[in-house]
Amino acid sequence: MIEVKGVNKSFGEKHVLHDINAEFHPGKVNLIIGQSGQGKSVLTKCIVGLMEVDTGSIHFDGRDFSAMNRRERREIRKEIGMLFQGSALFDSMTVEQNIMFPLDMYTSMTKEEKIDRANFCLKRVNLENTNHLFPAECSGGMQKRIAIARAISMNPKYLFCDEPNSGLDPRTSILIDNLIKEITYEYNMTTVVITHDMNSVMEIGDKIIFINEGKVWWEGDNKEILTTNNPEIIDFVYASKFMKNLKGKLS
């Protein structure tokens, strides 16, 4: 479980996160949603240690990440997989080398074992026989799936996904969502997904945290979000014409 306790973060005069408290549970897809510029990405970067919190603490299964030194953090980071918005694949490496990269750095596996592991991860994301392609030769959806394969290559306990559907067509988005959900359940991972895609919210949101003005505004699941009376949530959820029509039909 990941616990965020009283986190505050400012950039100069701008206070971005205000006393954030949240829990992300294992075996569940935990979503952080909210409009752009409300602090979702900053919160995620604070959780994974790409940014330091001003006050408060982050706990990974009871281990206080914020109080750890670089070496101790490194051990936790081996348990973290992350899917970036732009995939962040290493463009000078082939697909196989990208997936083998964490194994090269942290394990003493033989080359054959690493190739086997890379093949297993690629098969898991339905991308067999792409081993020798370079990221630039792959489509956006393929890159996302390769990034997922890389993220799970070390069997992480925690998976973070930053807007996994951005720039993808609806069918590929659903494919990525389903993949994230399946992997989370299969490996009992604590998965945290940042999104503002309502399809994803409805498809995979086991637990949803709505961030507004740098504060946790609302918490619930994908059923409760449709019935809440919170005006900011209603504004967010029913912003699209599709959702407005759906609401009309439902009512």
Binding site: V48, G49, L50, R70, R71, R73, R74, E75, I76, R77, K78, I80, M82, F84, Q85, G86, A88, L89, F90, D91, F101, P102, D104, M105, Y106, F160
Partner: protein
């Protein structure tokens, strides 16, 4: 104020680069790749520049020797001395600051804006050390060889320029390049080169590593990397000359 902050950040980055390196075997392959990128891939431009640089030095020396009291071998002597002491180590390093420096700054800058460096950090890898240390090691070890190659070609360029235009005979030129030779000049040139190599990589990598924004900012970082490594090389050249030669 901004420049002072940058100097501070530069030394913090250097500390990060030189402390807590990753596994040794990770670096060996990367250093070999960088030898190719920084060294072998620069041989063409270094070769062309050196031949013409040496030729021009020899021709200009010959054209300025009006006094009949000056022996002809002076052309060879001056070509050799100026090539070894200044032209090969400094001019070639300045050219490499443009070629290699912009390449390093834009490569690392692009990795920054496409979140590849964040991906390394999240994996718990010391991204600064992983990305910059192999380039530093490769540049510091390969540039002296490039400069020796440049010295040889420059002197050869000078030889052909003056002998083919009958400004000096083969014997006179060869006597000139061997006259009053001090081996310590080579040491001075190579020490300078190693310092310049360190400056080119570390300054360019610094601007690349702290790139913020998008493609436009990668371009700016690349330009700043080249400009500041050039300025730093010129200052270091002055200081090293004072310290070693005088």
């Amino acid at each position: 104020m901004n420049n002072i902050q940058n100097i501070g950040k530069y030394f913090i980055l250097l500390k990060q680069v030189l402390t807590q390196p990753e596994r040794f075997r990770v670096y060996t392959k990367r250093v070999a790749n960088e030898w190719e990128t920084i060294g072998l891939n620069s041989m063409g431009i270094v070769g062309i520049l050196s031949v013409f640089m040496g030729a021009v030095i020899a021709l200009q020396t010959a054209s300025n020797m009006d006094s009949p009291l000056l022996p002809k071998y002076t052309i060879g002597y001056i070509t050799r001395s100026s090539t070894i002491l200044e032209f090969s180590p400094t001019i070639i390093s300045l050219i490499l600051a443009g070629k290699v420096g912009s390449n390093i700054a834009s490569e690392i800058g692009t990795m920054r804006v496409t979140e590849q460096i964040d991906a390394l950090d999240i994996m718990g890898i010391n991204s600064a050390s992983y990305l910059i240390l192999p380039k530093l090691v490769a540049a510091v070890t390969i540039l002296p060889f490039l400069i020796i190659f440049s010295m040889a070609l420059s002197i050869m360029g000078g030889y052909y320029a003056v002998t083919l235009s009958n400004l000096c005979s083969h014997e006179e030129f060869v006597y000139g390049i061997r006259a009053f030779f001090e081996p310590s000049n080579i040491t001075y040139a190579l020490v300078k080169t190693m310092c310049f190599a360190f400056i080119i990589v570390s300054v360019s990598a610094f601007y690349g590593y702290y790139t913020k924004g998008g493609a436009l900012d990668v371009g700016k970082s690349s330009t700043q990397g080249v400009v500041w490594s050039t300025i730093t090389i010129l200052i270091a050249n002055f200081i090293l000359t004072q310290l070693i030669l005088l």
